[in-house]
Symmetry: C2
Subunit: 287 residues, 2 copies
């Protein structure tokens, strides 16, 4: 890599949505310069006006030409396309990192980057239902878990730089294999999203007969369905690039619901209570 | 009924857990006297010490002897038992109301109360994961929806008294048939509970191979699984007394999840996106 420490780096953040603009904002002052890149003139202007980046442009080539670190902060399938584009124009000695929510396909694609360009996958476990540059917040990454998925070809120096970057925004790096990452987030994040969506859909079905359901929904429904308000385009990319793990979770989950239903049907209170007590204790110990 | 206005009433709250003690606390000063009744000496002492009631006792018979309104604030199946007991000792001219989370079985049972005792079902849509007298809070009912399910035999006077009581704790009364109530809460409350439990159970299964899942779970998992921390005994009563409606919801829900899975399997992005967009818009408009 061209530079050895974060403070010397010019960092290009490509994609000035919630994640990119928040990261840029948290990085400002901790490196030589933060350059924002986005196709949207509004995002570029807003990021500059609000000081989320030191400078910003709608031109990818101009934005990355002096970059030591390139951060791909778009939805997953946009990242897959960006890796191809960047292969041709990333500066020799630079490092590419991404913030995508699934890692297997992205790290596989990163293997194709030129030898002179380092690469490491990244996935911060933070977010909001709101998306876009207007929702950006320098504190978004504070105390968050931040997965890093190195490739076989990732140098120690590049991985150290990625860790330093994560720590500089007060997040906690955790190095993990891409496939293991994708299985874990399928369980703790992608499955919950689909569960929330299924719940809103059921309520919608009940509402055909009884619109009072929307008034009857209180805090329990609100929290259980919260993730259904996530950005659909972002979620579609996640679902389509983590299909196998998500399908596995959906299958196992349906089996669990089926167990609940069979116990209820049979009025088998003993086994139902035992299940729910185990779950209750586990949940109490979690948060 | 013996008295015509709430301010003249002696109100006995039977069951000094979260719901009963919070209601007692909110009613103090708005009626002649609030008498708390609980089998637990600790609950009785705590409710008195913290001023949740004017007076309290572990003796049901003594507690209700001067009561104009009796509020049954225990888990559902305990309420079913209490209705039998109270049939024999409720003062002539008094009114019985309950706070149980399911209404069909309770209102059916209330039909057996003596003719000289009025009855109306009640269900406030508020709560906490924490239960017990220590979690009580006079503001718990503030702005909450409060279902009232009158019986055919409920007099207008008794229903007015129930409405006045609900409004005096700043909740919003909504009069509804017991069966319609049970179907609505199966969708917005009992199904979400089981979904949360199923999610924690899946995470537990993944944890056999990979305990890091507990660190990976962030705010999305936390909110979607929150209801799994609800009191199991209370929930068992709810599940067993609203079985048919809950089984219907579980079946419809499983079908929804199956639709998601089939779309994912077939890589049918169009129909999946359409589903998720409809859900997203609905959820955005809700809260």
């Amino acid at each position: 890599m061209r530079v050895g420490s974060l403070t010397e780096c010019t960092i290009a953040v490509i994609g000035l949505g919630l994640m990119g603009a928040s990261l840029g904002s948290a990085l400002c002052g901790k490196c030589r310069r933060v350059v924002g890149v986005d196709q949207s003139g509004y995002a570029v202007e807003t990021a500059m006006k609000r000081g989320f980046v030191d400078v910003a442009t709608t031109c990818l080539e101009a934005g990355i030409q002096d970059a030591d670190v390139l951060i791909l902060a778009t939805p997953v399938r946009k990242i897959l396309g960006l890796i191809d584009t960047i292969s041709l124009i990333a500066p020799e000695g630079s490092m590419v990192m991404d913030l995508g929510s699934t890692k297997t396909q992205i790290t596989a694609k990163m293997e194709n980057l030129p030898r002179g360009v380092q690469a490491v996958g990244g996935h911060p476990m933070c977010g909001r239902e709101k998306s876009g540059v207007d929702a950006a917040d320098a504190g978004l990454y504070h105390k968050s878990l931040f997965f890093l998925t190195p490739l076989k070809r990732t140098s120690e120096e590049a991985l150290s730089m990625a860790c330093a970057l994560v720590q500089s925004v007060e997040a906690r790096p955790y190095i993990i294999e891409a496939e293991r990452h994708d299985r874990l987030v399928a369980a703790v994040s992608h499955l919950p999203y689909l569960l929330a969506c299924g719940l809103v859909r059921i309520a919608n079905e009940v509402a055909y007969d009884d619109t009072f359901i929307w008034q009857a929904a209180s805090s329990g429904f609100r929290d259980t369905s919260r993730l259904a308000a996530c950005d659909v385009s972002m979620m579609m990319d996640i679902l389509m690039t983590n299909r196998e793990a998500i399908l596995w979770m959906l299958e196992a989950y349906s089996q669990n619901l089926n167990d609940f239903a069979r116990s209820l049907e049979r009025r088998d209170e003993g086994s139902l209570r035992q299940l729910l007590i185990a779950v209750h204790e586990r949940r109490r110990n979690m948060f």
